[in-house]
């Protein structure tokens, strides 16, 4: 067992993937000598060379567009988008090309591309550095979307994403990059597209992913003191959703709260609420509630804690669903 951070888990996972397959490439802004602005690719260019860890020109569409061509040539590009808000210059290539080429080619041309995006707020940053763009990608047919929440998942999930023949948007909870956990490299990891109960409970199911898993766990600890038992599920896979563990849990608890930083309007919570309602209707004791960002652009950082769901806002929703 080794104590590692999420950032370190990602670095180790990237290194393992590069060692396992010479076709794996890393490309992005500042990923080479600097090791990325969050140091996730630290040391990789030194060990694997400039042909495999590519400092790209500063243009996100160029990163994804050239990754498409490299994938067509048999490579497995791992593209780093420096911050969530900078993915949009690449949005066209992601949505119109990366997501559609397998379908366009009727399955002849796979797109084994991983798009790493540090996402979410809470780091006191300027505009465009704190966003949660996952719903755009989860809504896009042809993309898979996952989010890791802890160092162990970071280590395994990045390797599984790289090994996948499908394009995967890989969301990294940037404000949790330095959270620690114990990694057992010999353990058998869960499959990539699986949700997991991270804290069992009986009264309310709390569904979260990425940075909000920790918040949900804090809420469940606080609720325990008040005699309320929260079951926390780390969704891990946002598209496709792994719905069975969600349904199984909600059928037991009868109540569900979905938590994410992204605005609730047409966010992941909306889809989950619809699916739970459709599939667990007779088990529900209360409507599915959503806790998330407001339908405002991400606010200036001095007030970002007001925007981001925290322990109290999760508990408030828990109380509302229990009181329903």
């Amino acid at each position: 067992m080794t104590a590692i951070t999420i950032a370190k888990g990602l670095t180790m996972g990237l290194r393992a993937a590069m060692e396992a397959d010479p076709k794996v490439l890393i490309m992005g802004e500042d990923v080479g000598k600097l090791g990325g602005v969050f140091r996730v690719t630290d040391g990789l260019q030194k060990d694997f060379g400039e042909d495999r860890v590519i400092d790209t020109p500063l243009a996100e569409s160029g990163i994804l567009g050239t990754a498409v061509g490299l994938a067509m040539r048999g490579y497995r590009p791992v593209c780093e988008i420096q911050f969530d808000g900078f993915v949009f210059p690449a949005y066209d290539q992601i949505v119109s090309q990366v997501a559609k080429i397998h379908f366009r080619s009727r399955g002849r041309v796979p797109m084994p591309i991983v798009i790493r995006i540090p996402f979410g707020g809470g780091i006191g940053a300027v505009e465009h550095h704190s966003e949660s763009p996952e719903a755009y990608f989860a809504h896009t047919a042809g993309l898979k979307v996952v989010a890791c929440s802890n160092p162990v998942d970071a280590y395994w999930m990045i390797q599984q994403a790289i090994a996948s023949d499908d394009p995967i948007v890989f969301l990294e909870p940037k404000r949790r990059y330095w959270e620690k956990g114990e990694l057992d490299e010999d353990a058998e990891p869960d499959p990539l597209h699986v949700s997991r109960v991270v804290r069992p409970g009986t009264d309310v199911t709390v569904l979260a992913y990425g940075p909000m898993v920790k918040t949900a766990l804090q809420a469940s600890a606080a609720a325990e003191g008040e005699g309320k038992s929260l079951e926390v599920i780390d969704l891990r896979t946002l598209s496709p959703l792994d719905v069975d563990p969600i349904y199984e849990s909600v059928r037991r608890t009868g109540r569900a709260v979905v938590v994410h930083e992204a605005p609730v309007n047409l966010g992941l919570g909306s889809e989950i609420a619809a699916r739970v309602t459709e599939n667990c209707f007779y088990s529900l004791e209360a409507p599915v509630l959503r806790v998330g960002g407001f339908d405002t652009p991400y606010p200036p950082s001095r007030i970002e804690e007001e925007y981001l769901p925290d322990l109290d806002r999760v508990l408030d929703a828990v109380d509302r669903t229990l009181d329903y």
Binding site: P57, A59, S61, G62, S164
Partner: protein, 384 residues
């Protein structure tokens, strides 16, 4: 600091706002069918090869004519005509080696022909049967890309892949490879094309950017896309650019062949601007009479890419009536192949689409497939 006087004319201090010194096009065969010399570029194939080009040009035009007719008869949803651009496409397409890779727009029917793609596969796309029914690895010809300019980055990335595969500059003519990326004059305004230029320049990628400047982006003339001649843009990205007579198949072949060889040897990218003209509408849905004058069309008709080759072959006595009649016969057969093949083309099954989204199927899509199959089955017997 003084505001008085007029010591410096700010209109001139930075130099002229664009270069007006446009050189002549690279041309090796005049519109009248006469061979001419060029100091840098030579066409080094024999008359048999030119007869082969003639056949390609005529057959490509026939594909276009037949497809346009099929669209008019309701058999295709739309067709993007290449009328007038046959030489640009055949000249460049025939310069490719088997190991080279071509990234087309949606109008590269002549390049597809040169790469051995059955034109019926092109019709399937425009009929609405599929989004691209050929295997890009057979013929090394990418799928048609409809978002303007997007493929220029794919082409650049593929070229970077060639570099990493070590198939550049080995000196082995069977092994060294290059990429050609096609786009039009309108696409040069896109960010993706400019980013592709940046990438290709910085990484010295083995790529030829082949811009068919057909003067019109639907209804918008080239003057509204670019103040500078397009080939001159390459200089700003650090690689050479050249303008070639896009209606001269010999010049297009010679220039493209040289640029591809330069790329294969590891000397990096080239921008070729093939100066040509879109003789037809943008697509069968377009009406060019709303935005351009017939004089312009008439002046370009005199520069037709096919008639000059025929004039040359006749003047050289390199081809007789039997040769030309044989090509016509072949064109008729090709048209018949397209017509009967198009009419016989089955519609795809709606249930097939669910399995083509991912390499690894998801439970959700499988469920949607199954539910839709059940839904369809629920109608069985209703209209018996």
């Amino acid at each position: 600091m003084s505001n008085s006087g007029a010591a410096v004319d700010l209109g001139e201090v930075f130099g002229p706002s664009h270069r007006g010194d446009e050189p002549d096009l690279v041309q090796l065969l005049t519109p009248e069918g006469e061979r001419v010399e060029h100091p840098e570029f030579t066409f080094d194939l024999d008359d048999e090869a030119i007869k082969g080009f003639y056949r390609d040009l005529v057959l490509t035009r026939r594909i276009d004519t037949e497809a346009t007719a099929l669209q008019r008869q309701g058999e295709l949803g739309i067709w993007a005509s290449l009328l007038g651009q046959e030489a640009a496409q055949i000249g460049s397409g025939r310069a490719l080696k088997p190991q080279d890779f071509a990234f087309p727009t949606y109008r590269e029917h002549g390049v597809a022909w040169a790469r051995g793609i059955d034109p019926l596969r092109l019709l399937a796309l425009f009929r609405g049967v599929d989004h691209g029914g050929w295997d890009p690895k057979e013929g090394n010809f990418g799928l048609y890309t409809i978002v303007i300019g997007a493929q220029s980055l794919h082409a650049t990335g593929y070229a970077m892949g060639l570099q990493r595969d070590g198939v550049i500059g080995t000196g082995d003519p069977e092994r060294d490879a290059a990429v050609i990326g096609y786009f039009g004059d309108g696409a040069t305004s896109q960010g993706d094309v400019n980013e592709a230029f940046v990438w290709a320049g910085v990484f010295n990628a083995p790529i030829v950017f082949f811009c068919q400047n057909n003067q019109w982006a639907i209804s918008v003339p080239i003057e509204k896309q670019s103040r500078a001649p397009l080939y001159q843009r390459a200089a700003g990205f650090g690689f050479p650019g050249v303008r070639v007579d896009g209606n001269d198949v010999l010049a297009v072949y010679a220039v493209t062949q040289a640029a591809l060889q330069r790329a294969r040897e590891g000397s990096g990218p080239t921008l070729i601007e093939a100066f040509t003209y879109r003789m037809g509408a943008h697509t069968t849905s377009d009406d060019p009479t709303r935005y351009r004058l017939s004089d312009e069309l008439e002046s370009w008709q005199k520069r037709d890419p096919i008639s000059r080759v025929k004039a040359y072959l006749v003047a050289q006595k390199a081809a007789d009536d039997d040769f030309f009649a044989g090509i016509e016969q072949e064109a008729d057969e090709l048209a018949e192949h397209l017509r009967s093949g198009c009419l016989a083309m089955p519609d795809p099954s709606p249930l097939d689409i669910f399995g083509q989204v991912f390499a690894e199927q998801t439970a959700e899509l499988q469920l949607q497939h199954d539910q839709y199959a059940d839904y369809l089955a629920s109608f069985e017997g209703e209209h018996a």
